[in-house]
Amino acid sequence: MPENTENSGTSGAPHIEFRDVVKRFGDNTVLNDLNFTVTKGERVTLIGPSGSGKTTILRLVMTLEELTGGYIHIGGTPLQYEEQGGKRVRIADKRRRRITTDIGMVFQHFNLFPNMTVMENIIEAPVNVMGLKKAEAESKAEALLDKVGMAWKKDARPSELSGGQQQRIAIARALAMDPEVLLLDEVTSALDPELVGEVLAVLKDIAAETDISMLIVTHEMQFARDVSDRVMMFDEGSVIEQGLPDKIFSEPENQRTQDFLRAVL
């Protein structure tokens, strides 16, 4: 597969763009006036203490949370709200779904559908959202299952599988939609330690073989270092430091980044 060689993280048009984003839960302001962009094919890891708003950022991009203020653009198209005649107008769910079709997400707790087999989980969206024929979706699913090493379990139910296996299938399910953006939300946090490696290995392969833009929230600092083009350190809802992974992990400038990394490494 031809590789994208330009995903240095500093060139290209913005793929994900946060403009003056505000997110509040009741009185609690999680994100306050956040601005950042991710370019096409860039892999950005968000680090920071829990409660700093990292997961909220991913959930906003997936439209699992409603923006309180500001705008998010995906490939130049407004996602949740748009400006119309100087007013901020909510975009209807149906239109949102057209954009989120290009966005995939992998969750901490896998969230496979327990009432479906592995194969049914993977072809559900390709058939019912993208309109693929069942046979077509299945052969594509087989290839993806092969890639994540789970083809032999295609007729199993999620409940029969280990956490690591379920997560690999969840990754295949997200990839089956040919996403241009992939959101990884603490995908190894719920796994037993001995199962973390198999999931990260799969993700590293995908990072190497595709040019999908990725937003990653993880506590696996080595993984972050291996796949990221850029690391953004969050605290209290804003970016306090960002840069190349080597720079952030080896010689962080901000005191809070230093404290955080000392605590987790």
Binding site: M62, T63, L64, D93, R97, T100, T101, I103, G104, M105, F107, H109, N111, L112, F113, P114, N115, M116, E124, A125, N128, V129, R173, A174, M177
Partner: protein
């Protein structure tokens, strides 16, 4: 045949059986159709109450409470009085009243079932951009029903046992037939006892099945 004076006459009992079975057919029909009505409408009610705006939800909730908080017998008599000029079949009136009465109970069961589907399932559906209808049909409802099958089954048995209330609108189900049969000689022991036994024979194995299902799903 005139029954003997002993407290139980086997010959008389045997004579009652065919009459009872005629009634049993009606009982069974009412149970099956009533259950189907309650199963389908109950799901619709549960979904409306979960998704509809407050302006529709409020009167709807009131109606559901009204049906639940009044006795089935009164509803049967009332519906029969109100509807018999327009509907030929009293049986159909009875079946609909029974079905709608239990709709309110089954809706509560479905509601609990829907609430028991983890938030992560809805989120996964959103992440896959599944349309709303598809999310309900392929993800939420199958899981909700799985969680509620035993409770729904218990209500079906309960409906079965409440069909004798049809007696108040003169539907010839099993218990009414037992009464009519007994009334010919002012002797009810055999027919009523047998009717009770038939109910027991039908509902006990069903409840055992439901209990097994419950264990299997747990």
């Amino acid at each position: 045949m005139t029954p003997s004076n002993s407290w139980w006459d086997w010959g008389y009992a045997a004579e009652a059986l065919p009459v009872l079975f005629d009634g049993f057919k009606i009982t069974l029909l009412a149970t099956v159709l009533g259950t189907l009505i309650a199963l389908v409408l109950g799901l619709v009610v549960a979904m409306v109450r979960r998704t509809a705006p407050a302006i529709i939800n409020a009167p709807f909730t009131w109606l559901v409470e009204f049906i639940r908080m009044t006795p089935l017998v009164i509803q049967l008599v009332f519906a029969n009085l109100a509807l018999s000029p327009f509907v030929d079949s009293t049986l159909m009136i009875g079946i609909w009243v029974l079905g709608i009465h239990y709709t309110t109970y089954m809706a509560e069961v479905y509601r609990a079932g829907i609430d028991s589907v983890p938030k992560g399932q809805w989120e996964a559906a959103t992440a896959l951009s599944l349309p709303r209808v598809r999310t309900w049909r392929a993800v939420v409802v199958p899981q909700a029903i799985r969680n509620t099958l035993p409770a729904l089954g218990n209500y079906a048995i309960s409906m079965f046992k409440e069909t004798p209330f049809f007696v108040v609108i003169y539907i010839p189900e099993m218990v009414r037939n037992a009464q009519t049969f007994g009334g010919d000689n002012f002797r009810y022991t055999e027919a009523i006892t047998l009717a009770g036994l038939i109910f027991l024979l039908a509902s006990y194995p069903t409840s055992l099945l439901i209990r097994r299902l419950e264990k299997k799903l747990a």
